[in-house]
């Protein structure tokens, strides 16, 4: 595989230029700049809120300095609460080219869009000169998420991803699974797989936190489509989701923005700490994908039963369809047909190997289906987290 070497030693599998708006008021201008570039490697991200938030800042910093990112143009209206100077300084400190455009100081929409297009072109020219380097499997970070789950997810696509994760972990790669709220009911089984008893206690505490959080909200992470697809309870959905984690020992528990220090399998705790303050932990699947990317994921394995079509900015999304009926309806959006397990045309091992091989091809530059279709979703909202405890990471 080929990668792009960054100053922190990490390597990227893409060389993206981000155009990042720092408040919704700058979104349109940022989008115009991306549209003008008309280049798949120039991508739009942003944070819509005007009020400052430590989590949102750290997520924007993590994504803007992600190994798949080569340079950044920041779009500010001028009066929003986001600390644009600190973000620009953090990006510049990594050696990446970064330019900040303030709409109120640049003559408004048309002039800022024009200046932004020129900034993108300058950054493109600078990073295109960067040579690529060899990249090994043990330098890869892969995340997994499920969306639109049904009764097939937990018996086809999710176990197949689990087999792929086992192969990746064995090869020294880093794998991240997540959504503690969607793992309610699996806490004891997960704790049994923890590398240390202290980590086991942290995992139990994280799932209990998720259960309390969702209880306060009055909803679990369970949609009407889940029930139509045959899932009846949160813990049933959890067991299906849990199958994505495979069978490796759990090396650590991280929170959004924490980059795992070694290879192995990590659980990402996405449920906020403290009292319930900003609403649902993650308002949609892409909010989870953004958090996985903030933890350094180069690519995302997305399993779906009902049929999701999303991709993501920054990191390619590989979609694994669990349900054979859905695959027939949405084949043009899917990378992998895991429904063949249900129809007796292959085992979870077969499909796991197919995913493992696809991961390496996409990491080596081949486009995933959602990438080729131009999907570049991104969403970031308000949250709050405390730092992880001392027993959460391998020593």
């Amino acid at each position: 595989m080929k990668g792009y070497l960054r100053s922190d030693g990490r390597k990227g599998i893409r060389n993206v230029v981000l155009v990042a708006y720092l408040v919704e008021c700058a979104h349109h201008v940022a989008r115009k700049i991306v549209q003008t570039a008309d280049d798949r490697a120039v991508q739009l991200i942003g944070f819509p809120g005007c009020f400052p938030n430590e989590y949102a800042f750290s997520m924007m910093r993590s994504v803007c300095t992600h190994p798949n990112v080569g340079g950044v143009v920041l779009l500010s209206l001028g009066c929003e609460g986001f600390d644009r100077e600190s973000l620009a300084a953090a990006i510049a400190a990594t050696g990446r080219p970064v330019e900040t455009l303030v709409i109120q100081e640049n003559g408004g929409t048309a002039r800022t869009a024009e200046a932004g297009a020129a900034a993108v072109a300058r950054i493109r020219a600078a990073i295109d000169r960067q040579p690529d380097v060899d990249m090994a499997l043990d330098e890869l970070v892969v995340g997994t998420v499920c969306g639109g789950s049904d009764g097939t997810s937990g018996i086809s696509a999710n176990p197949a991803v689990g087999r792929c994760f086992d192969r990746l972990v064995e090869a020294g790669a880093t794998c991240i699974f997540e959504e503690t709220g969607e793992l309610i009911g699996c806490e004891e089984i997960m704790a049994d797989r923890a590398a240390t008893p202290e980590l086991a206690a942290e995992i139990r505490a994280a799932v209990n936190k998720a259960a309390r959080y969702y209880e306060t909200l009055g909803y679990g992470s369970f949609a009407p489509g889940n029930a139509e697809g045959g899932l009846t309870t949160q813990e049933e959905k959890s067991m299906g989701a849990y199958a994505k984690s495979g069978a490796s020992p759990i090396s650590g528990l991280i929170k959004p923005g924490d980059v795992p220090p070694t290879g192995g399998l990590y659980l990402l705790d996405v449920v906020p700490d403290g009292e319930v303050r900003f609403g649902f932990p993650n308002i949609s699947d892409n909010a989870e994908i953004v958090e996985l990317i903030a933890c350094g994921c180069h690519l995302i394995l997305f399993t779906t039963g009902r049929g999701s079509v999303v991709g993501s900015a920054v990191s390619p999304v590989i979609k694994i369809c669990a349900n054979p009926d859905t695959y027939r309806k949405l084949a043009g959006d899917m990378d992998i047909d895991a429904g063949r397990i249900i129809e007796g045309r292959g085992s979870a091992d077969d499909v796991g190997l197919e995913i493992f091989e696809r991961v390496q091809r996409v990491a080596d530059g081949a486009q995933s289906v959602s990438e080729a279709l131009g999907h570049q979703e991104f969403i970031l909202t308000y949250k709050q987290f405390e730092p992880i405890g001392p027993s959460c990471l391998p020593v």
């Binding site: 209880e215 045959g230 309870t233």
Partner: protein, 103 residues
């Protein structure tokens, strides 16, 4: 009448998962016996592997995924009308009134 393929995910399970849609009277092969479906079920839905009583744990993947609220005979559909969560009960009740959140 036709055969519906099902999977038994774990030997301890008391439910089976349908690998295709089935209609009443369709046959399901399980434990060397043939069970008749009692109602229409869709792909991915669960049917009782044996008679299940109210209050009995529902076992899938070898673990408890909820509890029966009313009985189901072998081959009966096991879903929101006869079972519920042991965890987020308030949510389960809401979901049954067609409220809920994302997947």
């Amino acid at each position: 009448m036709s055969d519906v393929r099902v999977v038994l995910l774990h030997p301890d399970d008391n439910v089976l998962v349908c690998c295709g849609a089935g209609r009443p009277g369709d046959r399901v092969a399980c434990d060397g016996e043939s069970i008749g479906l009692r109602e229409s079920v869709e792909l991915g839905h669960k049917i009782a592997r044996r008679d299940l009583g109210a209050g009995e744990d529902v076992i899938k993947y070898g673990v408890c995924i909820g509890v029966m609220t009313t009985p189901a005979a072998a081959g009966g559909h096991v879903h929101v009308d006869n079972m519920t969560s042991k965890y987020i009960r308030s949510h389960s009740r809401r979901r049954e009134t067609r409220e809920g959140t994302r997947s």
